[in-house]
């Protein structure tokens, strides 16, 4: 509703006018302080240009190890801005990404590097993610490293460009357009990695089909449309489907990675396909919804379900036998090692532009969790954070 402006301050209005003035004063104050602070940091940065150590040309990258004694003291004393750019913290997998950054920061502590860490939350918006990255890169003035999970494939180059314009280093994961390569933004777009979505999707489908005895009807719940991870996982599912001629897809739709949408889909489908044998979900959040829908019809445990991501509740369900399998993309490893590689580049220990192509774009290893290994998995990844040696920066590359 529209309110007319009050002319002449009433007693009440006066108080709120004062409140408003106070707020605006505070805001202006914050602005001034912010500007001063950024000027200050710019002054300190300007002293360490041209201090990069020379980069050796023939390096055994597979066994490359960060030797802290090769990092100039000026670099260690410069505040390095460390970030992960993610879609939103409501997803447990994404929490492992931020925890991977925390682990990497412990490594920075151990070698005496000054840093500040930050989580850039895009809330699932392309524009916000790009703006976040621009602001972060500008603030850091070149002394920045970031791990980014582009909200959609199309924005990966924009994120790299945002970082490149300030001179920091970025590593992306999961989504990028096929025709865009880190080499396009040498040396700032250091690497792009991805868990092997096709292989993971296929492995889950095979586990599901085997659980069904190789025949029957299945539901397929895809992730967000246009999202590379979802497209590739479904591609893997379709590859497996060709190997199992007696499996029939009864329904296929998108659950947008969300639990409640998957619940609604399965709840509806069960009405015309009560004899479904298995449900393949493109991530674990949606597997949680599928399980809940099955539970309502007392079918939980009778209909096989698979997910991807190894969320805690789904790992527990694997242990209980209500979920056939899930696969961990190991978010700790993805973010932690990507930041380690970017750090090595920022510290001048490696030059991304000279890395062989297979070290610019590569797959990271995944762990399949099924009834066979669920106890060992819980001990290593759920009850603890896996041990990672970030000095061996390319240990995260799948063979």
């Amino acid at each position: 509703m529209y309110y007319g402006l009050k002319i002449g301050p009433s007693k009440k209005g006066g108080i709120f006018m004062k409140l408003r003035r106070l707020t605006s004063l505070l805001l202006v104050g914050a602005l001034v302080i912010g500007t001063l602070a950024s000027c200050g940091s710019q002054q300190t940065e300007s002293t360490d240009t041209g201090s990069d150590t020379p980069v050796a040309t023939d390096i055994d990258y597979a066994n490359f190890t960060i030797d802290p004694s090769n990092i100039p003291q000026e670099k260690l004393d410069t505040t390095l801005y460390v970030a992960t750019s993610v879609r939103g913290l409501e997803n447990p997998y994404i929490v492992t990404i931020t925890e991977g950054m925390d682990e990497f920061c412990k490594y920075l502590d151990s070698i005496g590097q000054k840093y500040e860490k930050q989580v850039l939350d895009s809330g699932g918006s392309n524009d916000v993610e790009i703006d976040n990255m621009k602001q972060f890169a500008a603030k850091a003035n070149g002394n920045a490293i970031a791990y980014a999970d582009p909200n959609e494939a199309a924005i990966a180059p924009s994120l790299a460009e945002a970082m490149a314009s300030s001179g920091g280093y970025i590593g992306t994961a999961w989504n990028k357009p096929d025709d865009a390569m880190p080499q396009d933004y040498d040396p700032n777009w250091a690497i792009h990695t991805s868990a092997d979505n096709v292989t993971n999707g296929k492995a889950m489908a095979k586990a599901l089909f085997d659980n069904m005895g190789g025949k029957g009807k299945v539901f397929v719940i895809e992730g967000m449309l246009g999202n590379t991870a979802s497209i590739d996982r479904v591609k893997g599912f379709e590859q497996a489907l060709k190997e199992y001629p007696d499996i029939e897809v009864a329904h296929q739709d998108t659950g947008n990675w969300a639990t409640d949408e998957a619940l609604t889909l399965v709840e509806t489908w069960l009405n015309d396909t009560p004899d479904v044998g298995g449900i393949w979900c493109a991530n674990d959040n949606m597997a949680t919804g599928a399980l809940q829908a099955l539970d309502k019809k007392d079918l939980k445990g009778k209909v096989g379900v698979t997910g991807i991501d190894a969320n805690t509740d789904i790992v527990e369900a694997v242990k209980d036998g209500t979920v056939v399998a899930t696969v961990s993309s190991n978010g700790y490893l993805q973010s932690g090692y990507t930041l380690a590689i970017c750090y090595a580049a920022w510290a001048g220990l490696i030059d991304p532009a000279q890395l062989p192509d297979e070290y610019r774009v590569f797959l990271t290893p995944a762990v399949i969790v099924s009834a066979d290994n669920v106890d060992a998995y819980i001990a290593e990844y759920v009850e603890a954070v896996p041990e990672m040696d970030f000095s061996k920066i390319f240990e995260c590359k799948a063979n």
């Binding site: 408003r20 409501e90 895809e222 739709d253 639990t259 409640d260 609604t264 009405n271 015309d272 949680t288």
Partner: protein, 339 residues
Amino acid sequence: MEKEKLAAWSITEEFTAKIKADNQKEHLTKWAPVFVLVALFLVFTAILGGSFASGSNIVSILNQWAIPLLVALGLTFVIMLGSIDLSINGTVGMAGSLAAVFVLNSRNGNDMGIWGLLLAVLCSVLIGFIIGTIHVKLKIPSFMVSFAFMNICAGIGLLSYGGKPPTIKDEFIASIAKSSFLEIPIITWVALLVFVICLYIQEYTPFGRHIYAVGTDETIPKAVGINVNMVKIKVFTLAGFCFGVAGVLGAIRLGQGQVSIGDGLMFPANAAVVIGGTALTGGKGGVVNTVVGTLIMTVLFNGLTMMGVNPYIKTGVQGLIILIAVALTVKHGSTVISK
């Protein structure tokens, strides 16, 4: 003879005829949403056969209807005021997350049982009250205040469980999702109970009449001494209550507390309220319209899902059908008499 008759029409007669025609039109638009609903149901039954009209799918529809209904009920009063509440995604998500961490769950040691659910609703009521108060006292447009609170509430929800969603372990509360009474899910009964409360408020309390009055032209109730600000604060508080119940039921339905319970609820709720025939300008419509509007949306989503429409075109098809429904049900253009 004919001419004479026309000439004989006095202004009063013309006026009466106009009112009559207008009333007829009004009558038609009033029932249009119901026709749309029946038509949708018949079309889906014709395409999908028995499985769409089966008892178990009706139960599914009722299950899927409960939360959108609650959200839209709260929003209806706000829209009747001529205001808007954008906090839905956040408040619903927050109430659901809080409910899950208050009861016995996988993340912490709390075990408040039913009291935990009530406390979560209370938090949401409080948020509604704060939104209304800030809107009225600081004279900030409602969409801005509520937009800010969408983010604040989503933040509170996320903080409450630290990113790893709590699974509800309280067996009684978890079993509510599966329970039904007279074949209708308990969740839907709760939503219907809230509907009855809202209907009572709208039809039989002075507060209900004041909402219409404020929505139509707030200078009139002001002139007769109604505390317009208080009416507005009460409406936002009531909306907070509806969103809170929606969030708690959402968490029970999922068996888990997640901020994302609230995602994507706001615009369908707005569409449902408008399709039902409540005018965005305020002063018209009501909760009965909203019942029909939300049913249309739920039946539409359910039918399209069952049809297995290619997901790449489904969203577009949904949009198109919503547009058609709005075009059929919302009164376009204004005549001399109706405002």
